[in-house]
Symmetry: C2
Subunit: 144 residues, 2 copies
Amino acid sequence: MAIMQPDERARRLLRELEHHGYRPTPQREAVCWALARHGGHPTAAEIVEVVKLHGIGQATVYNTITTLEKLGVIQPMPLNTDEHTRYDLDTTPHMNFVCSQCGSIIDCHAPQLDLMLAQIASTAGATFESANVVVYGRCERCKN
Amino acid sequence: MAIMQPDERARRLLRELEHHGYRPTPQREAVCWALARHGGHPTAAEIVEVVKLHGIGQATVYNTITTLEKLGVIQPMPLNTDEHTRYDLDTTPHMNFVCSQCGSIIDCHAPQLDLMLAQIASTAGATFESANVVVYGRCERCKN
DNA sequence: ATAGTAATTAGAATCATTCTAAGGTTGAAA
DNA sequence: TTTCAACCTTAGAATGATTCTAATTACTAT
């Protein structure tokens, strides 16, 4: 998949909110923009830092993120390495690689992955809805 | 892999501690037993509940679990659905299926999975150390 | 306008986990 | 046996991310 630009991503988040009857308030807009402009895998606290400069409260950030999460347009990404919950704006099938040395996170796209996970789930008689795949190792820079 | 019996598992945890120079104190023994007898995917709080009946403190439980985690003999299993960290006593390659309705957790063994993840990591120039794969869906009982 | 609902907010509350400081246990050396 | 240092355990305090509360403000439809 092509890389999505920040403004495109922000509009997509807002569109999803409106589509489900949530009003596109200035505060929600600011949170969506901050999420989209982050570039990586933001935490709620990081977004709070950014938008509080515009007078937006912490509760609003948490509310908006929780709403976006319920709509399935962002995904919480629980890691062993971080005390904050990080969010993934990319909800297409992929795995997240986390460097155990420098902590950097890389999205690795792999269309065949979800298929395999769905197959494994079906052998247990279960259905597949979503997945959270995290791989730990050394990134290209740190492995040397 | 055959299912490991609780006493076998407990002895394995203790052996690993001793092997790395940790003394097999009665408290650590109790924690290892409680972990092994839990059967599923215990949280620290659940173990605290069990062993405090024998006068063992919360700090000791957290200390012992952290030690076992560092030795790689148990694995933290961060989930979206639980505010406690659950631990996986099974460190062989497998994925964890979580029923989004009833919350039950099923270990699904899939030897080919880690191989695929390692391959995907290598396409990003990274090395594979460990993985945490969680799949959400409906379990056999809840899907009807 | 005005009523009713949705949204925002500061600050308090919650609660899992970690830290602290004090006391207990162990084992080996003198 | 005595000593000593390192290891262990523990109650309770501290931390800190997230959630809750209660009050205010901003829309929307009539």
